[in-house]
Each structure stands twice: as structure tokens, then as C-alpha cells.
């Protein structure tokens, strides 16, 4: 059953990706990217990563869609047409993609318990976190306690990124002819 759900989700992900590539209306691209995030949240849910699924659904599918639509409101909604086919990006992505697939061949099999990543600090979190932190959700214990430094860094990143975008958007606006459209938004 799980394999069936996974297959359906991954097929839909591939379909959405192809649709994003073929879509030239940017509003459509944003909506498709939102659908992609929502499907990805489903994949995370199947993988039992509920915290990541919740984040993906709320940030990827909801907030970033709204932000991108708000950004499109400031720009044009049609993709800039390519003058001629460019082979260099295609070649580059093929080489990088092949390299990634080649690298994945030497990874330990999917979901194996004795993979190197599961033998470092993870056993300690699993066995000791209830006694040391007393929080049933291990993810919260790791994020807010064991790795508080990382989360402080992440919060600072959000702070810096937010301040940066606000500075860019609040700056003085260069008046272009016909740019001052007075849409009623209040």
C-alpha cells in the first residue's frame, strides 16, 4: 500500500515538474510549484517525517506561493521568450544530473538502520532524549535543545533575509511611464 502511494506521489511529482517546464505563464508556474510542494509534503508524510511535512505544507505550499504571487504583482507574468536554443545549460544540467545519479549508486540502501548517518549521534537522541530533555517529540528536542545553535542561526537567517527584502521593497521607486497603476487594494 505504501509503495503504491509512493509511486502515485512520485509520478505526480514528475508530471508537475514537466508541466512547470512547459508552462510559460508565471502565475501558472507558481500554482504548479505550490502543487509540487503539497505533493512533497505527502511524500514526507509517507516517510514518517511529519515535522518536515507540516513545514513543507505551510511554507512551501502556502506562504511561498502567496509571496511569489505578490512578487508577480510587481513584475510581468509572462516568461521572457528565449531568442535561440542554448545548449550549454542543457549540457551542464545533464552532466550534473548524471554525476548525482552516479554518486547515489554508492550510497547505502534506502532506509537501512546501520547507515553511517544513523550511527553517529542519532542513537543517543533516540535512547537518551526522553531522559535528558523530557520532550516526547525528538525533532523538537534536537532542534530547540541539542542543536539550539543551528536553530538560532536559522532564525537569524530569516531575520536577515526579511530585513534585506524589506529594504529592497521599501526603497524609493523609480517612476516608469505607465508603471503607476492604481489598483484598489484597500
Amino acid at each position: 500500500m505504501e509503495a503504491l502511494i509512493n509511486m502515485a506521489l512520485l509520478t505526480l511529482l514528475a508530471a508537475v515538474t514537466i508541466a512547470i517546464v512547459r508552462q510559460h505563464n508565471l502565475v501558472g508556474v507558481v500554482i504548479l510549484a505550490s502543487i509540487y510542494s503539497f505533493l512533497m509534503a505527502g511524500v514526507m508524510l509517507v516517510l514518517d517525517a511529519v515535522d518536515v511535512a507540516l513545514t513543507e505544507a505551510s511554507v512551501g505550499a502556502a506562504i511561498s506561493t502567496i509571496m511569489l504571487l505578490a512578487a508577480l504583482n510587481l513584475t510581468k507574468t509572462r516568461e521572457y521568450p528565449l531568442k535561440h536554443a542554448n545548449l550549454v545549460p542543457l549540457l551542464l544540467s545533464l552532466v550534473v544530473g548524471a554525476g548525482l545519479i552516479w554518486g547515489s549508486l554508492v550510497l547505502p540502501p534506502f532506509g537501512v538502520a546501520d547507515a553511517p548517518i544513523h550511527r553517529h549521534v542519532a542513537p543517543r537522541y533516540i535512547t537518551q532524549s526522553m531522559g535528558e530533555i523530557g520532550v516526547p517529540n525528538m525533532v523538537t528536542a534536537v532542534l530547540a535543545d541539542y542543536r539550539g545553535y543551528d536553530t538560532l542561526g536559522e532564525t537569524t537567517v530569516i531575520f536577515v533575509a526579511g530585513i534585506g527584502v524589506m529594504l529592497l521593497l521599501r526603497g524609493r521607486r523609480r517612476r516608469e511611464p505607465g508603471a503607476g497603476k492604481a489598483e484598489d487594494r484597500s
Binding site: 502556502a62 506562504i63 504583482n73 510587481l74 532564525t155
Partner: protein, 138 residues
Amino acid sequence: MSHDVILRIGTKLILPFILLFALYVQFHGDYGPGGGFQAGVIVAAAVILVTITFGLRTARRIAPRAVVERMVPLGVFIFAATGIVSLFTGRNYLDYSNFAHDPLDAHFIGIFAVEAGVLVTVAGTMIALFYAFIERGR
């Protein structure tokens, strides 16, 4: 402001539940999925919904821009200050063990403070960014 009755009444109906769910995600993060980041995004989504249906002016009455923009550094401050406080209790930075007599209570308090900081920064940033985009587009 949207003149669609269904949208306006629907928004009013669903709004308390969105905020309640945000609180649940925030305070139940110790037991289930969630935490400050997700809860902050959900709070921001509630304000954005109000902005879309009732307009920027109404939203600014609920979440004034001055407050929202002060929330952005305030959350980082709460987080970093928790670490400073833990230094004063004789522990390492962001080690909450001495916040209370019982070490488990101490960690609970520390996680609570840190998650509150994350919520404040994330919610503030998202709402402030949305306001900035809307104002730029006017």
C-alpha cells in the same frame, strides 16, 4: 476589500480556527509535529488571509506595521537572550539545565522560550514581507 459575501463570512468563520491551530502547533510541538517555525507561518497566513479579503487597512488595524516590523528582530533577541540567561545560570550558551531545579522542567522552559522567539521572528517576517509587497504594488 472584497465584496464577496461568501469570502468575507468564510474568512471570519475560519479565522479563529486558524489562530487556534497555530497555538496548538506552537504549544503542542513538544508532543507532536510542529514548533515555532510552523506556528509562525500559520499566524502569518491568518493575517495574510485578512489582508486579501478585508484589505490592507483592516489588516493593519489587527497587526500594525510598526508592531510587525519590531517582531522581526524581537524574536531573534528572545532566542539569543535565552542563551545569555543560560550563561548567567553557570551553563554553556543555550544549555537550559539550570533554569529550574528539576532538569526536565528546566529544558521545558528553555525550549518554550526559544520556540516563542522563533514564532515571533517568523510571523513578523512573513507578515512584514507581505505588507511590503502589497504596498509596493499600489
